[in-house]
Amino acid sequence: MKKTCEIEVDCANCALKMERATRAVEGVKGAVINFFLQQMTVEFEEGADIKAVMAAVVKACKRVESDCEISC
């Protein structure tokens, strides 16, 4: 299961940090941030509660980059 979200982030290094933070979230199998398209694609583990995992992802991203927006 994959999901693509629109994001708003200003610097490329911050996007990299968000990507790393997202991958570390439980229930996330993989994550890619496309800085230029301002998109984040998250792949979930099988059977993961997508809503809960996404909430955790947003929280993790906000922690490393307080100035980011994620909307799915």
């Binding site: 610097c11 490329a12 290094n13 990299l16 230029f36 398209l37 694609t41 922690r63 307080s66």
Partner: protein, 625 residues
């Protein structure tokens, strides 16, 4: 400029004016400090806030934090040494903001120009319903609906033209600037622009399955896949930042302690200042931003030229390729056969054609198609049964109660018929009837007009070996190879043999290899090669699936072009890596020895980044031959 950017712009202007005014005011002592702090807050308040938030979240080493420490440090220095010079603190943050603004504008501009290249997504469709037109979103249109496309509009969905004679501009998909004419009954592709007169189209695919959606998805996924250079940068950034911060800490502590031990004054302030400069220089943004941007722009520029590259690592491999392997039919030649003559046959050409076309009636091989096209009185399908296609041999069928075999010499041998050779150059289709030889039909294919030029260009780009693999007979294959000056030719191959040949070439260690095929029959070879390039991918799902690079029209001249784009992209990536790293390390060294001040540090941070971004955007321009 976005709202956010305009707001920062305003703050920068206000602060700059006040900053200049301050230089002429006779303020002293606390008043000067307060005025300076006011101006400082105007430019810096968001950075202070962000770094406080980051600190609370345990993110100590982000850029905002570094800038806060650096500028507040400069304030403290101004107070401590009694000079009342707070200019540096304000200047540091002011320049940082100007740099950030410039960077953000440059990035959003390049983003826009790249996404504009890919802006082929149609927004609406005019749906016809009992003579009335309604405008709907393309994803609401069901298969089999009639849509009307006015001149100048994008065709929103794939379909077949029902009414209207027009021409369509396919350049957004193929890079081909000559319009393609469209008549009723012909297929039209979404993403093209209708040029002359209104077209009524019966849709054959839903929006999600349409060409335009597929291509957009592909491009998006392509830029998601990371190349080795990008992975290197990611890993580098992860190690680099903590190392530089550790070095800064050492720089602040170690020399003063050594000086103290040696009995000299410690000069804490000097070394703290140098450590701050160190931190300001340290941001790896120039690399982290410009390398993916180069690939992104390269893939975007290639897409514009009708070359779809499915990931940045293929850009890397294509740039290093030294061996070029080609399929013949449909790749170097047109793949459209003309029937020339029938030899050694008891039947007339027409009768022989009738039988052969009947036997081949279910095959999609280009040879079969041309036989069917040449046959003027095809037999009714009730007369044909038991059709079987034998891979690499031909077809066998029962026609009018006779066992008809159509194919190559090997098939004739298998049928127990003795094939007679042909003295002409061309593709020879042998026919046996009830296991007796019934002659052969000579058909010929012609080279694509750009094949020879494309191969010559590849040689001049440093391709060491050009090879052609074909299922066709030796005589034809060798004649084509001579005409195109190919280094090597392997003929009479089954699809499986082609894979083996390619594997052998890959083991020969000449260099990276790309294979160019038509994508329909060559899927296994496309998948096996270092880079698989499919020709004429537009409309063929198989090609788009199997290949790593898709040439949207079927022009061989796009292959050297793709190589030039890839090489240019890699050149710029290398330039940026070398420039950014050497600039950073030089500045770090200068900072450590006290030869750089804060102004210099800001340039090393923001200036290097802007130069790298501007360099990266160059990849967007497709290089000329």
């Amino acid at each position: 400029m976005t709202k956010k950017q305009k707001k920062i712009m305003g703050r920068i202007i206000v602060a700059s004016v006040l900053f200049i005014a301050l230089q002429f005011l006779p303020l002293e002592g606390v008043w000067r400090l307060l005025a300076s702090a006011g101006i400082y807050l105007i430019v810096a308040y968001d950075i202070l806030l962000k770094s406080a938030k980051g600190l609370l979240a345990g993110q100590v080493l982000d850029e905002n934090f570094l800038m806060t420490v650096a500028s507040l440090g400069a304030f403290v220095l101004g107070i401590c040494d009694g000079s009342e010079d707070y200019n540096e603190a304000i200047a540091v943050i002011l320049f940082y903001q100007i740099g950030e603004l410039f960077q953000s504008c440059a990035v959003s501009r390049s983003r826009r120009s790249i996404t504009a290249l890919m802006d082929i997504r149609p927004d609406y469709a005019h749906l016809e319903n009992n003579g009335r037109l309604t405008t709907v979103s393309p994803d609401e249109v069901a298969i089999g609906s009639i849509i009307v496309v006015q001149p100048g509009e994008k065709i929103p969905l794939d379909g077949i033209a029902e009414r209207g004679d027009s021409a369509v501009d396919t350049s957004a998909l193929t890079g081909e600037s000559v319009p393609r004419s469209v008549h009723p009954g012909e297929e039209v592709m979404s993403g093209c622009i209708n040029l002359r007169s209104p077209l009524h189209i019966r849709t054959t695919r839903e929006f999600g399955e349409s060409t335009v959606t597929k291509i957009l998805q592909l491009v998006q996924e392509a830029t998601n896949r990371k190349s080795r250079s990008e992975q290197f940068i990611t890993r580098f950034a992860r190690v680099y930042t903590p190392v530089v911060c550790g070095a800064a800490l050492l720089l602040a502590l170690l020399p003063p302690v050594v000086l103290l031990v040696a009995g000299d004054p410690a000069e804490w302030i000097t070394w703290l200042y140098r450590a701050l400069i160190f931190l300001v220089i340290s941001c790896p943004c120039a690399l982290v931003l410009s390398i993916p941007l180069s690939f992104f722009a390269g893939i975007g520029g290639a897409g514009r030229a009708g070359i779809l590259i499915k990931g940045s690592h293929f850009v890397e491999t294509l740039a290093q390729a030294h061996v070029a392997v080609f399929d013949k039919t449909g790749t170097l030649t047109r793949g459209v056969f003309k029937v020339e003559a029938a030899h050694h046959s008891p039947y007339s050409l027409n009768e022989l054609l009738q039988l052969a076309a009947a036997a081949e009636s279910a095959s999609s091989h280009p040879v079969s198609i041309s036989l069917r096209q040449a046959c003027q009185q095809p037999l009714p399908s009730s007369e044909i049964s038991d059709m079987r296609e034998l891979q690499g041999l031909g077809v066998v069928a029962t026609v009018k109660g006779l066992r008809v075999a159509v194919g190559n010499e090997k098939l004739m041998k298998q049928e127990g018929a003795e094939a007679l050779p042909c003295h002409c150059v061309g593709t020879i289709v042998h026919i046996s009837i009830d296991h007796h030889y019934a002659g052969h039909i000579l058909i010929s294919d012609s080279l694509k007009p750009t094949s020879a030029r494309a191969l010559a260009e590849l040689k001049s780009l440093g391709i060491r070996k050009t090879v052609m693999l074909t299922g066709d007979n030796r005589r034809t294959a060798e004649s084509v190879a001579r005409e195109l000056a190919l280094d090597e030719v392997h003929c009479e191959l089954f699809p499986a043999h082609k894979v083996a040949e390619v594997e052998q070439l890959m083991r020969a260690n000449i260099g990276r290899l790309f294979f160019v095929g038509d994508g329909v029959n060559d899927a296994p070879v496309l998948a096996r090669a270092d880079v698989g390039i499919a020709m004429g991918g537009l409309g063929s799902d198989a090609a788009i699936e199997a290949a790593d690079v898709v040439i949207m029209d079927d022009d061989p001249a796009r292959i050297p072009l793709a190589m030039r784009i890839a090489r240019k992209c890699m050149r710029i990536v290398r330039q940026n890596i070398i420039f950014a790293l050497s600039a950073k390390f030089t500045c770090l060294a200068l900072g450590a020895f006290g030869l750089a001040n804060m102004w210099f540090a800001i340039f090393a941070d923001v200036g290097v980044l802007v130069l790298c971004v501007l360099n990266a955007i160059r990849t967007l321009r497709v290089p000329a031959a």
